[in-house]
């Protein structure tokens, strides 16, 4: 058989993690990401790994903290309400400077919300998933194939920068099936985990992984050092994709599954003679600020398209320093926008039908 397979996004999250050398998964089931845990429950024992269903999301994220502290590649996954439950643990992981990967296959919210796809955790993921002065890397795949690539990249980035990396997907991407090819991934240099609590064997001093600092001055120093790393990430790790933006009057900005729908709308707009383009942030943090700012000189306006009430739209305004008007179009609650709806908005922004 050839190397191409037909897989669900959720399954690819699991398979790509294994191929990235991750042998530990701690999680708790929740629709629409449960196939991931189901896949790993079957697959992990075959590769000498462990897939453990914890008693709760809170337990799962603290198991991740433990395994990460021991220097192991580890990840957890959930959907929106479950990610909220993990938020305290995620802050502790950031405060402990340990690497891990966290998957959010988003569904409608707030509260218990619904089980259909949404992108309404953008704020939570990029701004406030946990207390304290903190960031972590957030990657938003738009294709099942892209999940395979980004999952490997997420583990590498986590190890290099010693922090959580989130894969922010949504129910549609998790549930849909597409052909996928697990090709060779470009190798990154991963620093040795000299900080890991994996047994000193009387050869070295104890390592301590901890997020508690008694002295405010020391804590300040630690946080400032961490922000230097954040600055380096903002410099070096921005990911994005562009489609026909060079001469675009209307720049549609959209990520994840919605970007694919927006792309169809952009193509339709071009057929109508409207100069539309698509800018797709792949890293939501670090947000591609410079790249968007460079489009602001030529474009007439920006349109943020998301499955929420308007969250990324603020990041776009900041990125382009409000040089041009930025609008939002979105559906929420688990409703997926159609290409026609987005096209209508593009036409409107371009000054109506010719």
């Amino acid at each position: 058989m050839g190397e191409k397979l037909l897989m669900k996004g959720n399954e690819v999250l699991g398979e790509a993690a294994i191929r990235a050398g991750c042998k530990l998964f701690f999680g708790y089931p929740i629709t629409p990401q449960t196939e991931l845990a189901e896949y790993l429950a079957k697959k992990m024992p075959k590769v000498g790994g462990l897939c453990l269903q914890a008693e709760s999301e809170v337990a799962a994220i603290n198991m991740v903290l433990g395994a990460a502290s021991a220097g192991e590649r580890v990840f957890t996954s959930s959907s929106s309400p479950g990610v909220s439950l993990k938020s305290e643990g995620i802050s502790y992981i950031v405060g402990s400077d340990v690497p891990c990967v966290i998957v959010n296959v988003q569904r409608g919210g707030p509260g218990l919300g619904g089980i259909q796809p949404a992108q309404s955790d953008y704020y939570q993921a990029t701004k406030a998933l946990g207390h304290g002065d903190m960031h972590f890397i957030v990657l938003a795949p738009a294709y099942v194939q892209e999940i395979a690539t980004l999952m490997g990249e997420a583990f590498d980035l986590a190890d290099i920068y010693r922090m959580p990396v989130m894969i922010l997907a949504d129910g549609a991407l998790g549930q849909m099936m597409e052909p996928v090819d697990f090709g060779e991934k470009k190798q990154r240099e991963i620093p040795e985990k000299t900080w890991a609590c994996n047994g000193h064997k009387n050869q070295r001093a104890h390592n301590v992984v901890n997020s508690l600092y008694i002295s405010p001055e020391v804590l300040e120093e630690v946080v400032v050092e961490r922000f230097k790393r954040y600055a380096e990430i903002e410099e070096k790790e921005v990911l994005f994709d562009e489609y026909m933006t060079e001469d675009a009057d209307v720049v549609v900005v959209s990520y994840g599954i919605t970007a694919r729908i927006a792309k169809t709308a952009v193509k339709a707009a071009r057929e109508k003679g409207i100069k539309a383009g698509l800018f797709r942030p792949i890293s939501l943090w670090p947000f591609p600020k410079k790249e968007l700012a460079s489009l602001a000189d030529k474009a007439k306006c920006f349109l943020s398209v998301e499955m929420n009430m308007g969250q990324m739209v603020d990041d776009i305004k900041v990125a382009i320093d409000c040089k041009k008007p930025v609008s939002h179009y979105g559906r929420t609650g688990g409703v997926i926008p159609t290409p026609d709806e987005i096209l209508a908005k593009i036409v409107e922004l371009n000054g109506g039908e010719n």
Binding site: L6, I115, Q175
Partner: protein
Amino acid sequence: MIFDKINKRLVVLCGHYGTGKTNIAVNLARYAVSLGKKVCITDLDIVNPYFRTADNADELKSLGVRTIIPEYANSNVDIPSIPSEFQSVFESDELCFVDVGGDDGAVALGTYADRFEREGYDMLYVYSAYRPMIRETEDAMDSLAEIEYLSRMKCTGIVNNSNLGVETDAETVKKSVEACKAFAERAGLPIVFTSAVVSVAKLLEGEEGIGEILAIKDSTKKLF
């Protein structure tokens, strides 16, 4: 002729999830209607939140197919339920296609195993050589055994629904034949038919060694 090989009134579609059971059930229902049969289709999927027979309910109803779908299908009520109307399939004179959820979704059948036994049934295992958890014969055998154990029923045939979604071409189907045959031989079950979307089925006409082909329409709901 497919309905010479499937000759029971109750036809159950089971298999690993994501192999296309719903798609096959819906297409078999359409095909049976085109042959003038009185048809019923029932969605017994208690595990899939997004893609299910219910997505095709309107079209099937318009063809005169009786559809039995769970009350909460495609809503936000995250509760698996079997519609009470399902009991009627044991009393009717229709050709009934029963679309079962993937893998352990087969447990939904177990409750009714005795009634299926009394009435007689065909149970088709839908296979795909492109699904990683069952592509190898050993893994497919494990999956088959799990489903038979949970459903307390026995599979009577295999459907080869190997595909790569929109990227499926004639080669995709041809390459799958050997793997499917190896599995069928090991399981001691006949391959009832191989499916291919209409455009690909045309290209496969006259191809040796594939056996009977059912030309299908991709009936998977398009999310966008």
